[in-house]
């Protein structure tokens, strides 16, 4: 099973960043990156835009243009946020496509690592063991 619809993608993957902004340790570091990052998912089609400057998570880049756009299947995104996808290897296989500033994604890496357990715990607490890789 995967995500049922775009709203679920938004809820879970967008939710990671909402939790990150609220975290007293991770939140300020995430804002410091100053990045606007757009995720474009397929199966189901959905868009999640994270604006680190405004500390917002939305479904369109209605403010600043994204510095980087990561495109992938929603299943890949789900696995990525559980620490199960290696970004350079996924890019080499075109499972994840990155347009824009890849360097900014590398700077997010240490924060991302701290968010993996948060994401997995959210899935568990919602009874979504089917999404756990």
């Amino acid at each position: 099973m995967g995500f049922a619809d775009a709203a679920e993608v938004r809820k879970y993957i967008g939710g990671i960043f909402e939790a990150a902004f609220e975290d007293p340790e991770i939140g300020p570091k995430l804002r410091d990156t100053g990045i606007v990052l757009q995720f474009t998912f397929t199966e189901p089609d959905s868009v999640v835009v994270v604006d680190a400057v405004k500390a917002t998570v939305g479904d369109s880049a209605d403010g600043a243009a994204p510095g980087a756009v990561m495109s992938m299947a929603a299943d890949t995104g789900n696995a990525y946020w559980q620490g199960k996808v290696n970004l350079p290897l996924a890019m080499a296989k075109s499972k994840i496509k990155v347009q824009g500033n890849v360097a900014s994604l590398l700077k997010l890496a240490p924060l991302g690592k701290q968010l993996f357990p948060v994401y997995i715990e959210t899935l568990r607490s919602d009874g979504r063991d089917d999404l756990i890789v």
């Binding site: 290696n86 970004l87 290897l89 080499a92 890849v102 360097a103 590398l106 890496a109």
Partner: protein, 418 residues
């Protein structure tokens, strides 16, 4: 054992190796700092290296400058682990995993994967490789002597290592230049000329992803059409009853590309220049090339030190050089300093091809991660200098242009005339 243990204060050493400017400076400038540290504070605490790809997660790093301590770290992998990364600045885990293969492993898994490559080097195969390298070195110098001037790195130094590593893999010739170019990108992202306005992370990512793609395509190629080469062996090899995944093989490709290209190339460039700067040594070598080339090569690699640094991570609290190292702290080995340590080498700044003992660190300080390609490097250096010294006696080299970076001591270009 160390008799006296200093309770360290976590204050940064004023002679810092952390700034980008330190690595953008000359070898001689760095050596002045290293000598001071070797004499006064051989194991010292420094801020995380500047110019990393991501915000540092550590407060500081230990810098090890003496030969004896580098040996101690290298030969004690239970305490000084490679599994948490070997680059001296902070690199995302994903990149370490995709780029470094068994270089960032410890224990049995490391040995098994390393053995997959080393097992390809039977005496018969080494003899065959040696013949091929001899012919290739000759062809490269054929090309050189047909010219009057040019860039020595692209005309000579780059070609033999690139040909050797990719010939062993069976990589099609039309892929080799591209692969070698991106192998360079893996070690040169801190250099402003190479980056040309891009962020270091962009340079590294493009290099890594492209190398992985070339490696993956080559795996598919060899799966469809097996040949008697290293790549076919890797695809069919089993470790603990399991074949390697395509991702693991692609990571192998990146590691071998960097290790095969960016080390011997720079040793060739730096040695060619050293033989010009020390004409007495060149004359000594020419007097008895077959008899002296073997010890001379040990000096070539000591003097060049193409790999300047590697890192380990302490797996437990320990003591090194009288300093207390805590579990999880980074220990940076400065091979560039260890290879100039007066305690290990008489007149370390002198290029002396007949050193009676030469326990250099150019292939590492021993232990399980000792350079497995060292014999290939020695074959290449023997053959290319046999050709160069005997067939291009009028070769004159200009000033090398050095790469900015803290890992390989690289010459980007060096003009020549004949």
């Amino acid at each position: 054992m160390t008799a006296q243990v200093t309770e360290i204060e976590r204050t940064y050493d004023p002679v810092s190796v952390s700034p980008l400017a330190f690595w953008a400076g000359t070898w001689e400038q760095r050596e002045r700092s290293f000598k001071f540290l070797r004499d006064e504070r051989p194991v010292s605490w420094h801020p995380p290296l500047e110019g990393a790809l991501m915000p540092p997660e550590n407060d500081g790093v230990w810098v090890v400058t003496r030969h004896e301590h580098i040996l101690e770290v290298s030969k004690n992998p239970q305490v000084f682990s490679s599994a948490r990364g070997v680059m001296i600045e902070e690199v995302p885990d994903d990149i370490n995993e995709a780029a470094s293969s068994f270089l960032v492993m410890d224990g049995p898994r490391h040995l098994s994967l390393r053995r997959l490559v080393s097992s390809a080097f039977t005496p018969k195969q080494v003899a065959r490789i040696h013949d091929q390298i001899r012919r290739q070195a000759s062809a490269i110098v054929d090309g050189l002597v047909a010219t009057k001037e040019g860039d020595f790195v692209s005309q000579v130094s780059k070609r033999l290592p690139m040909w050797t590593i990719y010939e062993m893999m069976g990589l099609p010739e039309d892929q080799r230049e591209l692969a070698a170019h991106h192998a360079d990108g893996m070690v040169s992202w801190a250099d402003e000329d190479v980056a040309a306005g891009r962020e270091p992370g962009e340079v590294l990512s493009e290099a890594l992803v492209t190398l992985l793609q070339i490696g993956m395509e080559h795996t598919e190629r060899r799966r469809a059409e097996p040949k008697a080469d290293l790549w076919t062996n890797l695809i069919h090899a089993e470790v603990d009853g399991q074949r390697l995944t395509d991702d693991e093989i692609a990571s192998f490709f990146v590691l071998l590309s960097v290790a095969g290209n960016d080390t011997t190339r720079n040793t060739i460039s730096l040695t060619a220049r050293a033989l010009q700067d020390f004409p007495d040594q060149k004359a000594l070598l020419l007097q008895d090339f077959p008899g002296r080339i073997t010890p001379a090569i040990e000096e070539f690699v000591r003097y060049a030190t193409p790999v300047m640094t590697f890192r380990r991570t302490a797996t437990r609290d320990t003591v090194l050089g009288g300093q207390q190292i805590k579990e999880g702290e980074w220990v940076l080995m400065m091979y560039a300093s260890g290879n100039r340590d007066e305690r290990a080498f008489d007149d370390p700044d002198v290029f002396d091809i007949l050193r009676p003992t030469n326990n250099h660190l150019a292939f590492g300080g021993g232990g399980p991660h000792y350079c497995m390609g060292n014999f290939l490097a020695k074959i290449q250096l023997t053959e290319i200098f046999d050709q160069l010294l005997h067939r291009a006696p009028t070769l004159r080299l200009g000033e090398p242009e050095y790469l900015t970076g803290n890992f390989v001591r690289a010459v980007k270009s060096m003009p020549y005339t004949l």
